[in-house]
Point group: C2
Chain length 411, copies 2
């Protein structure tokens, strides 16, 4: 992509109305734009990152047998009345149409997926079924001050599992947990798995995937020796206590952001929608359901919370909008022609590259913007680099002078 073609601009200063690092940097660098509190537009650079995260999630959901669908956000009120969500869920956006009909905006999709899957299941042999989507969710949040971490409209991957019995469900539950850890790891994050309370409708224990970050909204206790981790809300221990699991480590209190969760829904929704199958013996069985969420836009924000320094964002390679940020300095024709050649060579190799080809922009400004945007590798071509190219890693700040052949070979 040519930088000069991009309609967005970086800002010299972080926006003053944002309090979190993710929003400050993402707005300043031109990745997102705030429409109102908790609602953001994704601009060309931000959309590229979002699509990469979505594709990582998609791949891992497909690996465990997930089938992708795309469900509507506009729901008939009846479905929410069937599950009591219409009255009980305070974040549910409600709409009265001009014909007098009531609708809800999906804040989750159990109310749509359960009757939908019911349509297609005729026998216990049709189970298990795992269905997911990547879609916008709507929640009437009272506070939405954490940038893209907590929104009124936000991107989510939600998967639903339908199993014949608790044992099958638990088997898939474990696979999903592994797939989730893989997703976060591919996004450069280490998530801790906490036990938490089971949400509105369930007394069962659910799991939350927590990434340690000051911008988080949860307090957790985790063991400094083993994998034990628990949400402070339901912990019977406190910071400094001996770990109840390994009996060796000590518990540390930390602030964290929830990037995913899995809920054991039991047969709550299958019963509400009278969705049953006859098992081998002809007995009515209501499928056991699970719900598995990843906040896709939130994940993007958490990555920024973790990967930044005083100069800007430092994207992990896997989700960076580009692999290479090519900068040509000065408006000398020789430099520009060389940069054009390198740009085309990189594109020809299938490498995603943004070339800052702007004229009459100072070297200082171009290099500061490259740091702000946070692409992992910066290449600089100027009359000082002669027949070489300056290669610099955003993260390590290591600088080398390399030939274009050496650079291509290293990628």
């Amino acid at each position: 992509m040519l930088y000069s073609n991009l309609f967005t601009r970086t800002r010299k200063q972080a926006p003053k109305d944002e309090v979190t690092v993710n929003a400050k940097l993402l707005v300043q660098a031109g990745f997102v734009s705030k429409l109102m509190a908790g609602v953001y537009s994704f601009l060309p650079l931000g959309l590229r990152v979002l699509r990469k995260i979505e594709n990582i999630i998609r791949e891992e959901m497909d690996v465990i047998g997930g089938q992708e669908v795309y469900l509507p956000a506009l729901h008939p009120a009846e479905n929410w009345k069937t599950t009591s969500g219409w009255d009980k869920i305070d974040v549910l956006f409600k709409i009265k149409s001009r014909t007098g009909k009531d609708y809800a905006l999906g804040q989750s999709h159990e109310e749509v997926i359960t009757p939908l899957v019911k349509e297609y299941v005729r026998s216990y042999k049709d189970l298990p079924i795992y269905v997911y989507q990547i879609q916008s969710k709507y929640r009437d949040e009272l506070r939405a001050k954490s940038g893209i971490l907590r929104g009124k409209e936000f991107g989510m991957k939600d998967m639903y599992s339908f199993d014949l019995n608790q044992a099958d469900f638990l088997k898939f539950y474990k696979q999903a947990k592994k797939a989730y850890l893989k997703v976060f790891q591919r996004c450069g994050l280490t998530a801790k798995v906490t036990e938490a309370s089971g949400g509105d409708f369930s007394q069962k224990i659910s799991y939350e995937f927590m990434v340690l970050t000051k911008a988080g909204e949860d307090d957790i206790l985790y063991c400094d020796k083993c994998e034990y981790c628990i949400n402070l809300d339901i912990a019977k221990t406190k910071a400094g206590d001996k770990c109840p699991k390994c009996q060796i480590g000590r518990l540390i209190k930390a602030r964290a952001s929830e990037v995913g969760n899995v809920f054991d829904l039991g047969s709550k929704y299958s019963k509400d929608f009278n969705f049953y199958v006859l098992d081998e013996k002809g007995k009515k069985v209501y499928p056991i359901m699970g719900c598995y969420g990843i906040g896709v836009t939130r994940l993007l924000g958490v990555i920024v919370e973790k990967y930044h320094d005083e100069k800007g964002i430092v994207w992990p390679k896997t989700v960076s909008p580009f692999q290479i940020h090519l900068v040509s300095l000065g408006d000398d024709n020789k430099v520009k022609n060389k940069a054009l050649r390198v740009y085309q060579e990189l594109l020809g190799k299938g490498i995603e590259v943004i070339w800052d080809d702007r004229e009459k922009v100072s070297a200082g400004e171009k290099l500061a913007e490259a740091d702000l945007l946070g692409v992992p590798i910066r290449l600089v071509i100027s009359d000082k680099t002669k027949d070489k190219i300056e290669y610099r890693e955003r993260e390590s700040k290591k600088i080398k002078l390399l030939s274009s052949a050496e650079i291509l070979a290293s990628l």
Copy 2:
């Protein structure tokens, strides 16, 4: 994809609550599922088609310099009040949040994109700008009986152009028109370009891209000799009249469906949002805007309206969910092993293939379902085909017996 893994099923009969061919076939074949009138879920097969159409559109928008963004669907009421849309647009869904704030659901995005682009434009040199998105739109429609042709929630590509003056705008307008015809052509459709009235806010003439189909909601007059075409609503001629353009052909009346439109918005929105630049001479100029829409889900429906026969859908290759529908008949191990080999060979060549690997399903049922699903090429392996494979084109119904090498070579 293995057919046995797919959670959806075809129905023996078309659904009785649908009146249009597109909805009857898409629901019967398990591509979509109706949540309520005008609101459909996209199931795994339908989503594959939708993504292909979206990618065709994306490629053609990128060619003419479009920059992709993703804008929210939840809008602050203020933006709609600024343009008078809040009171004037009867299909606008309005939401009152629990804090008392008013929101609108995007039925179009001029109200969001105009102030957004304004943020980034500092000089007349920053223009032109072309921005597009592929996103869901919401309209409080009174009648929604045309399957996925007219929805309360539907997929749309909307592009917005910002130009310094009318001449630049008209230049881009022409490019966009060409790009649109290319999109429809790649989807297997021939669109006629009609002049129509300019919508709510404009006295200017707009263009509509019309595909002839009985399921359409518009009446048009078109010339049987030249490209002249006009919406009957604003025509001063009638069927049988001499063409006012070429003066040779005769006008024919036909039913058509609008798959795209382009509007000359003038400076209506730039003025509403006080978005101006100073031109070379320091004079205030309000950018000229254009809006370019393609109904993405509607397009999918129109393709089905055009491409079907009495047995089911007949997808054009470019948008088909798969290139090959492989059917193994009978539960003989030799047959199944051969089918597995062919399946893996095809996947290995990067060919999208669905293999109907189901056991204990009759030959008649499998072949009927293949016709219903409408994948362009069907391959049948049975004990009758011996060392060959039966190759059949869905459209021409031509059948040949070929070796797997011959089939791979032909693809």
